[in-house]
Symmetry: C2
Subunit: 666 residues, 2 copies
């Protein structure tokens, strides 16, 4: 990178940086060895010239974009195959790294994504050992996806309509879509790409419905790729983002599959149609929790891309005047711009840090589950739900803020901010809709509240409830600890109010479910407050822990970011703070002052901090955010690739405009 | 509409409605006569079959989309021409109605938009009467646009780099782009469509820079449409939205135009190069203010589309269970859903209502200016800036909320919510960036604050400052008036704090400009609070006024919406309320209770209220929001139009996937 001509402002900014950027890169990668491995893989993949687009894909038709994405995805997986990525030592690191490279190569979502993140993991977690042995051997010939959601049902799994009726005579399941709304709808890669699919369907045996179960279904011929008879499959059409994900629909007309195609690690159907129930139906929660946990680190990564673009552009862009007669300043020198952007740097670190902590918690819970101990699963589930909801929503808001901070140019596809927005905002809805997720956690909070009033012990992540419900008058302390406790007081106060509202509605004669609905706005608020308390506490604690293992220079910058995050949210939520914590109006003014000091402290390190995310230009895909800061040259170069610019006069002039003007003349 | 099969839920909802929907439609149109005229024009245009797309345009390539948009725009204007729309009695109504039909026909932004909303109005407002006479006669042959923004400059007009140097020998201006960053960048229709352009350039005469002035420039040959020699013109590439707007760039290589092509209503350049300065340079503010005013009603209209889609879909969609064993309820029955959506109905009414009030204020100020009285211009400017900022931002958030409320299906382009988002979110940036706008208003607030401390009289819209700065302890009153006064108290409190912060920084030795920058986060907050106070006050007052002229049934519904708007924002801003008004924590709980009552009151009228926006299906362009509620059928029908679905196997299988699988086999 060092031999290219770099914008003078960026050179100056990089000289100002008070910490060692390499050290931050290693920290984010989880160690120097990981950084080296990542860089080596990136170089191996991204130096392949066939992966580069001749015409940027935003100029292509919907169909051409899909075909180009398949082309690149095939090259990518062929390269990874050749390198035997499968044997890489750290699978978690490998998956996340694969994701990063894929977004760089495809620039959007790969049509093969669900094969890797849903199809194979579901086989591993829900197929029996014999099935795994057989299917994983066949896996290199299968392109799979995972079909749960239907046209008429997303959130409410029990409402799914696709049926799998067991026929003991032939030892087959008859898969059927009884209605239009029962068509599978949304799975990535399902439309034109996959030849296999795991579907969720209502299991019917001898007239009895045993609920939804997973089945492996072949949907296309392995040789011709034609849809199998009885299968209706196609794509659902363009979306806000995920343009190349090839999301599809799938309908079944009494389609028969062998009995052994039901995934039988948990529940089973014997030859004679005997249904053997799973020992523990909580086991299937595992995958859902897993995906929600990874969403935290995914959005942290996408946000790091957005803020890298916005901060570098803000360092290069000069506009307006601070003082008459002086040159136009870098827009990064406007305090309002710092206010818009630095929280996104901090938020990316927060979500990555808390995401890793949640990931470790998840692995520990899974290990315990392996030993038959399910005690921690409800707590983990409650935690994953509210964190998934709040992190996805906050990340969306941050990405949008980064885009707004780039003015008009941020609205251009070539900035890559619209695509990042499309990817991030989808996480608010998929794998558990925002409000539904918060209400899931609210159930846990209500239970905890009841336990508190009954004097019972609480699980660790909600134990603060007992403290603050007993003694709400804890004094304000202007420290990170004080802010964290205030957030806990807010969550406790909101939980109490929501519960009281729920019980009042019940006491006035409403059924529990109606009372729940009537109190749901408050329940959602309580759940969101709980997530904020957890985010603030764990980000701060984990930062403290990490700081002890890095240089003082870096430690102080990391602590500034964590403090900024706490102060920012304390100010954003000052109303809640004033209502439920011991903070006073005067204290709020003190917070505001310190917040503005933090902006000034972070300012000289802003470019260094986004350099620390170390995102290669090929992955960033941005005219505004490239390492060299050649913003205006890139904007023009990218525009000149438009097919509309390849001819001086577009045919529509002769076909439509000229005749119109001729008519107007008369 | 009545002979089509309508979803049963929607039929039930429509029966429940407590007011006459026709009456609401007339109110929104500004009278029954306007409704009739609108419906008649809509029928005239939309019944034209050539305007319908065979392939939905989201499947086309970028270039094909442009060509299709030109095709339709030409048919549209040909139809309007034939009907002599120009002679319609009410020009304001005509323009807004044109906009509505255009968005329906083009489904996005017309490449001719700027001809009508910027090019012609600028000629009318800034060309001399002789120029107008000449140019408006030629107008039917001209396709014009307006080029101000450059690649390197948007916000800061004085920083524009394009030069217009007067050559007295030939009596010409030499238009030149000295740098890459001086290229014009963004104007709609500029790329391949326009043959004329009004450009803003720095006027140089005899080595002296007289600042920016407007010039009429021919950029393409009238017969061949080829770019004129010395003109470099093209398109800037795809964006988040505005896909068919044909935004372009424009560079000049010492391009000569006659002296008489400078727009000379205000400033003039005489033959010998003598510069005659405009009597009042505030006159050019007019157009900017005008555009900002219309943004309020534009976003109100776009939001009415978004919430129509989301409410109808929420009435049709059934999901989950409120009670075990009972059928799945309409999602509109979830209080959290009502909380998400009803504020958008209220907000659309708020912005339309306040927009009309601002429009009337604008016309009155312009009339006064005609008589030489400029006194009210600064106040109007301050008002338009903060309202433009807050309304554009709020509308964006509301549209996004509507989209989230539609779950996964809201993410589909066929819902039309992504396109509406693209159109609305652009308003946050164009015609005055959000933060810059709020800081403009902040300057006015700081001035007003100083005047108060000096005991001077304030202009009407900020006069509350004096009241609340003198006596901040006004008691809380749980009425709309009480809430409005609380918002004023918040704005006054924030203005005071921001000013004190500004002065403190100055007293500590900072230059005014540096102090301004340091206080700018607080200044922005004060300005936003001022806008909220104005919005709440004027929406409530105008609703009271309108209510007296309609039936009691409708009046009570309108008042519910206005009250909901006030309560919603009081709760959203409870932190500010607690800090700056006399409200107590207990009062907040009372507000919350009443807010939830209002949701329940509005619930039975929700579908009636969105029917009241009366947006034809062809303009709504939504699979989820059509009048008949055939949501799932439309989703599938639209998907089946995908070219990817017209063949059972896509060529990419044979070209890329099959060889990849073959490799994996070995």
């Amino acid at each position: 990178m060092k031999d290219i001509k770099v914008n003078q402002d960026l050179i100056r900014e990089r000289k100002k940086c008070s910490f060692n950027v390499e050290e931050l890169i290693h920290l984010i990668d989880g160690g120097e060895q990981n950084t080296l491995e990542r860089k080596e893989i990136e170089e191996y993949i991204l130096s392949n010239k066939d992966l580069r687009d001749v015409v940027p894909e935003e100029y292509l038709s919907h169909k051409e974009r899909y075909e180009n994405a398949v082309r690149k995805a095939c090259i990518l997986y062929s390269l990874l195959l050749r390198r035997s990525m499968e044997r890489s030592p750290s699978p978690d690191f490998r998956i996340s790294n694969n994701y990063k490279i894929t977004t760089g190569v495809i620039k959007d979502i790969s049509p093969f994504l669900l094969h890797f993140v849903m199809f194979l993991p579901t086989i591993v977690s829900q197929a029996s050992s014999e099935q795994q042995l057989e299917w994983l051997q066949k896996a290199p010939q299968m392109i799979g996806t995972y079909a749960q959601t239907e046209l008429g049902h997303g959130t409410f799994l029990r409402g799914l309509e696709t049926t799998a009726t067991y026929d003991p005579d032939t030892e087959e399941f008859i898969i059927h879509s009884p209605t239009l709304t029962s068509y599978k709808w949304w799975p990535g890669g399902l439309a034109q790409t996959a030849n296999h699919c795991i579907i969720m369907a209502q299991l019917h045996i001898k007239g009895k419905n045993h609920g939804i179960h997973p089945f492996l279904v072949q949907i296309r011929d392995m040789e011709t790729h034609m849809p199998m008879p009885g299968i209706k499959v196609g794509e659902i059409g363009p979306k806000l983002g995920f343009q190349t994900a090839n999301n599809g629909f799938l309908g079944f007309d009494n389609y028969r599959i062998p009995r052994t195609n039901m995934l039988m690690k948990n529940s089973q159907v014997l030859k004679d149609g005997t249904y053997v129930k799973a020992k523990n139906n909580k086991l299937t929660y595992g995958t859902m929790v897993y995906i929600r946990v990874t969403i935290l680190t995914d959005v942290a990564y996408e946000l790091s891309k957005a803020v890298t673009i916005a901060v570098r552009y803000a360092a290069v862009r000069h506009q307006s005047q601070l003082k008459p007669g002086e040159p136009e300043p870098q827009i990064l020198d406007y305090v309002t711009q710092q206010h818009k952007l630095f929280i996104s740097i901090a938020t990316s670190h927060a979500f990555r840090t808390v995401g890793l902590w949640l990931w470790n918690t998840y692995n520990q819970v899974v290990a315990d589950m392996g030993k038959g101990n399910m005690d921690q699963l409800p707590e983990l589930h409650a935690l994953a739900c509210c964190l998934k909801a709040v992190c996805s929503r906050d990340a969306t808001a941050c990405v949008e803020q980064c885009r707004f901070a780039c003015g008009g140019h941020g609205y251009m596809v070539s900035s890559n901010l619209p695509t990042i927005y499309g990817i991030v905002t989808a996480t608010v809805t998929y794998e558990g809709e925002y409000t539904v997720m918060l209400l899931q956690t609210a159930r846990y909070l209500v239970k905890a509240y009841k336990q508190t009033t009954e004097g019972k012990l609480l699980t660790p992540t909600v134990s603060y409830l007992a403290k603050f419900l007993k003694n709400s008058k804890i004094t304000w302390e202007n420290t990170p600890k004080g802010i964290i406790e205030s957030f806990q007081a807010v969550a406790a106060g909101k939980t109490k109010e929501a519960c009281e509202s729920l019980f009042q509605h019940m006491n006035s004669g409403k059924a529990y479910e109606d009372a729940w609905n009537l109190a749901s706005v408050q329940l959602v608020n309580a759940s969101e407050a709980h997530a904020r308390a957890v985010l603030c506490e764990m980000f701060w604690k984990e930062t403290q822990r990490l700081s002890s293992s890095v240089s003082n220079d870096l430690a102080s910058v990391l602590e500034q970011l964590a403090e900024l995050y706490l102060k920012y949210w304390a100010l954003e939520k000052r109303g809640d703070m004033l209502m439920y914590s011991a903070i006073s109006k005067k204290d709020v003014a003190t917070l505001q002052k310190r917040y503005e000091e933090l902006l000034a402290l972070i300012r000289p390190n802003a470019v260094g901090l986004v350099d620390g995310f170390d995102i290669r230009d090929e992955i960033l895909c941005s005219t505004l955010g490239a390492y060299d800061g050649r913003v205006y040259e890139r904007l023009m170069e990218q525009a000149m690739k438009s097919p509309l610019n390849s001819e001086p006069v577009n045919q529509s002039f002769h076909k439509y405009i000229k005749p119109l003007l001729a008519k107007a003349k008369i």
